[in-house]
Symmetry: C2
Subunit: 211 residues, 2 copies
């Protein structure tokens, strides 16, 4: 059976691309799984969408990124907890969540694609930051691995529901509802070595959806 078909609660699963894009706009935290000597390894990393590709990046000194770059099969899991569905029993209670799982392989980007992808990564995390910064140097580009995976084999699950309690629980004394998480507030702190007279830039206060 394909890994992107559901056996359990299939009504929660879809291939709705708008839902996937919305999830990738809510968080940049992805978890990449691969097989190392027959054993599973899962590591977290920033994931950012560039059209129909998923981008990850890191140092050329990273052993696992170099391994992934050879094109071995990976699974990427991205999830956001939106709150808690509180039913009248523990059994019917659940987290409100959105979660996507992608399968495929990563390929290194080079040349102008690599530079464009780095800009997209930077601006996704701090919107507008690229315009506030000098360009990357050749040395910096050479020290960075930028990998892309096509968004091709994937599925998403969304649980955003109200309790479904049996009638005798509804008639009982327990409360039921949702507790939803809002947007976390930002605190902006100047670096200790910041020169006087440099104000907080728009990119810093525009950060959102990174979890």
């Amino acid at each position: 059976m394909p890994r992107t078909e559901a056996t359990r609660l299939p009504e929660l699963m879809s291939h709705n691309r708008a839902d996937l894009d919305r999830l990738l706009a809510s968080t940049v935290l992805g978890h990449v799984g691969f097989v190392d000597d027959d054993h599973p390894v899962v590591l977290p990393t920033a994931v950012v969408r560039w059209d129909d590709q998923l981008l990850i990046h890191g140092s050329t000194g990273s052993r696992w990124l170099r391994a992934i770059a050879t094109g071995q099969p990976v699974s990427v899991s991205i999830a956001a907890i939106d709150g808690v569905l509180i039913a009248r029993s523990a059994f019917e209670s659940a987290l409100l969540y959105r979660s996507a799982v992608l399968f495929g392989t990563f390929t290194p980007l080079t040349g102008t694609d690599k530079e464009t992808a780095l800009d997209i990564l930077t601006d996704r995390i701090a919107p507008g930051r690229v315009a506030e910064l000098r360009r990357p140097t050749a040395r910096e580009l050479a020290a960075t691995l930028l990998l892309a995976m096509p968004i091709r084999q994937w599925s998403i699950r969304v649980l955003d529901d109200w309790p479904h309690d049996p009638a005798d629980d509804v008639a009982g004394p327990a409360w039921a509802g949702q507790v939803r998480l809002g947007t976390p507030p930002l605190t902006v702190l100047d670096a200790p070595d910041l020169r006087p007279g440099i104000p907080t830039p728009p990119s810093a206060t525009a950060i959102h959806g990174i979890r």
Copy 2:
């Protein structure tokens, strides 16, 4: 080389148990990796600590949970993004994060251990909720898989730092600092079928550290 030794930026990695416990108090979102027919699969699930064990649970109808329950090797990744380290170049910028990776195998809990573990899970997500609820029924317990993995082979990485920019970047026009994420606000919503006169319980407003 053991999977819990660092090759890259080893100064960020530790086996500091207090850091791990703090991370597990910040989020209940874990990503479990396993090998399915030589391919890596990563799926998100709620993870909660019970002393020196990691608990996960779900329906007995869940194919992947049943597979995990047989004791095949797994990797569990847990991460929290605490903000953004904004340097004077994209290259020196980074996410502020805490991330733990655990390796091992899960074993099903039964009997009173299973019931205690379920209570710990419930109260971790909504503190005090167990005291507000009826007990689980035998049917509900039978429909639930509760798995535990010893916290034995693991490591944690914590990046909580200021920019380390070269002198010519510090002398330049770009701002640098940290943008830190605070605690998300909660919105509590009554279920549509809530009977009148049942107030929001303390457990709902006590929810925190679930991300």
